[in-house]
């Protein structure tokens, strides 16, 4: 069950251009949260900016009551957040949404992250590793240190995965090209499931590859949100339901994680 909790900052640092790592003591949320869920955070003390901002959970430590966010500065709200120092309060709602479903009976999981979309894949990798499942993670970005989400927190991903593949559009690090180019050789071996989070174009490409190789695929969507709780209907995505009918589903409630076959990107 989601709650409202005022946590406090344990650790906050810039890890790349416009990208920050924020570690928060939040016992209730840490206890309940699952990989793929998010928290809705107040990014102001007044009415401007007004709305909370949603951030996927980057780390979940239920034993120690700690969560962390990996976020990118985009506007007024996130800019305000960057000023937070150790012990400052953080007003949270969460955990919210439907997280990743751990697929049974696979020997390895393939995780694909684009830009800041890499954030929710870390706790998923850790969950799979704790079950003895191999994790192959592929992270892509425009550039190793680009404004649109560089390749950051690599040490944490290296520790939590069996294999880490990197790609940059400009070739400044890893494979020179799109991250989806790295997938076919692994997908065609089978015995796996794919989890993706990143720009819509990337997730569409991953979904198409997964369908081609008949591999189960889940995607985590990102949408502008107002309420974050399923009440306002502002954050919907087009989705084909089990009867093949097209509806608008709430990314904050029916998602953010969806079966890739259901989503119209």
């Amino acid at each position: 069950m989601p709650t409202m909790e005022v946590g406090h900052v344990l650790h906050h640092k810039r890890v790349g251009p416009g990208i920050y790592y924020l570690q928060i003591k939040a016992v209730s949320i840490a206890r309940e949260a699952e990989p793929g869920q998010f928290v809705h955070v107040r990014c102001t003390q007044g009415t401007d900016p007004l709305l909370r901002r949603p951030f996927s959970l980057h780390e979940i430590d239920s034993d120690r009551g700690i969560i962390s966010l990996l976020y990118q500065v985009r506007g007024k709200g996130t800019k305000w957040l960057t000023g937070h120092q150790a012990n400052d309060p953080v007003d949270l709602m969460g955990p919210l949404g439907r997280g990743f479903r751990i697929v049974d009976g696979i020997s390895k999981a393939i995780l694909v992250g684009g830009g800041i979309g890499m954030a929710p894949l870390l706790p998923l990798a850790q969950a799979f590793r704790s079950k003895g499942v191999e994790v192959l993670a592929f992270l892509g970005a425009a550039s190793r240190g680009g404004l649109r989400g560089g390749l950051v927190r690599l040490e944490a991903y290296e520790t939590s995965t069996t294999f880490l593949g990197l790609a940059t559009d400009d070739g400044s690090m890893g494979y020179h090209g799109v991250v989806t180019d790295l997938l076919p050789t692994h997908l065609e071996k089978g015995g796996t499931a794919v989890y993706a989070c990143g720009p819509d174009g990337m997730m569409r490409a991953v979904a198409q590859l997964a369908a081609k190789y008949n591999v189960p695929c889940q995607v985590s969507l990102d949408k502008y949100m107002a309420c974050g709780a399923g009440a306002c209907m502002g954050c919907v995505c087009k989705r084909k339901d089990s009867r093949g009918e097209i509806t608008y589903a709430r990314v904050c409630t029916e998602g953010p994680v969806f079966d890739a076959r259901e989503v119209y990107f």
């Binding site: 409202m4 009415t47 502008y224 399923g230 502002g234 919907v236």
Partner: protein
């Protein structure tokens, strides 16, 4: 220490306190039930329901503005049948009046939804959303024309014995005139204001932010307009009013009550603090205790009712 009577009555709907939820901001009750004990509220006003399911508008549907937000959700809802089968059972678990907001494209549709909801256990009243575009009359909102607004209210009243509350739009030249027209047509109460028509432009893409181009502005930014409307309408018409528009705290609620509202509704503020309604109930209670007000109804319209006194 005296006890405070916070109870109010809106056209036959008895409420334990004057705090309700604004339609479209509180879903069907279940969405916020983890954060708010619905049994504490004066009433729950649910999302607008139409005869048939509505898909709603394409994205983007929302955008934040200074001290507010724009929405063009487009009344996405599962339709009255699914509402009755799947949403009402949850609400019936609680002991809180449920007011169902209804909408339609034609006068006939409003009437049919009203008839479907009539005599439904757990439904305490209807709130009629007349800000919908009237498809038979070229898309002008029903609520922007006194005659059309009255026609809708009359049709609804003919099809239900439930208390009928008319939700008024501020996007009119004279809200008092519309209020008088719906009062004459038989409305048992009024709720105001609905959202203000507004828009935003994305200067990078050189086009409107919202797919629908225009949307409704809500939040703290609209409060002065809303208070003004309650002030005017409460003096033009002798019907109980649910006042809303940018309420975030008990002080805001008091402005509306003193302007002439019998009850208030909390909308956008729920997104920021889901417990806003509860905080306001407690705040009003404390205010009354601290100021020797035994019954909150004493405060209704006091900003204009006792103007002659010095």
């Amino acid at each position: 220490m005296g006890q405070v009577d916070l109870s109010v009555n809106i056209g036959g709907i008895a409420m334990r306190n004057p705090v309700t939820t604004a339609s479209g901001t509180f879903g069907f009750g279940q969405e916020y039930s983890a954060f708010v004990n619905l049994n504490k509220l004066g009433a729950v006003v649910v999302k607008g329901i139409t005869l048939e399911p509505r898909l709603g508008n394409p994205m983007p549907r929302i955008v934040e503005t200074v001290a507010g937000m724009l929405n063009a959700v487009g009344l996405q809802n599962p339709g009255v049948d699914v509402f009755l089968e799947e949403k009402m059972p949850f609400l019936r678990q609680y002991n809180v009046p449920v007011i169902v907001n209804i909408a339609g494209n034609t006068v006939e549709e409003y009437a049919m939804v009203a008839r479907r909801l009539d005599k439904t256990p757990g439904v305490a009243g209807l709130e009629v959303n007349i800000s919908c575009p009237n498809v038979k009359q070229g898309g002008m909102a029903f609520g922007s024309d006194s005659g059309m607004a009255a026609a809708v209210i009359r049709a609804v009243k003919e099809n239900t014995g439930l208390p009928v509350i008319a939700k008024l739009s501020p996007n009119v030249t004279d809200i008092g005139e519309v209020a008088c027209a719906v009062a004459e047509a038989g409305a048992d109460g009024l709720s105001l204001i609905n959202t203000l028509l507004g828009m935003a432009i994305d200067i990078d893409r050189k086009k409107p932010v919202l797919a629908n181009v225009v949307g409704g502005l809500s939040g703290p930014a609209v409060k002065p307009v809303a208070v003004r409307c309650v002030w005017q309408v409460s003096q033009a018409v002798d019907l109980p009013i649910i006042g809303m528009g940018g309420i975030t705290c008990w002080e805001d609620a008091l402005e509306f009550i003193m302007a002439g509202a019998t009850a208030v509704a909390v909308g956008t503020a729920n997104f920021v603090n889901p417990r806003t309604t509860i905080d306001i109930i407690e705040g009003l209670q404390n205010y009354c205790l601290n100021h020797g007000v035994g019954d909150i109804k004493e405060l209704i319209g006091c900003a204009w009712k006792y103007r002659e006194r010095s």
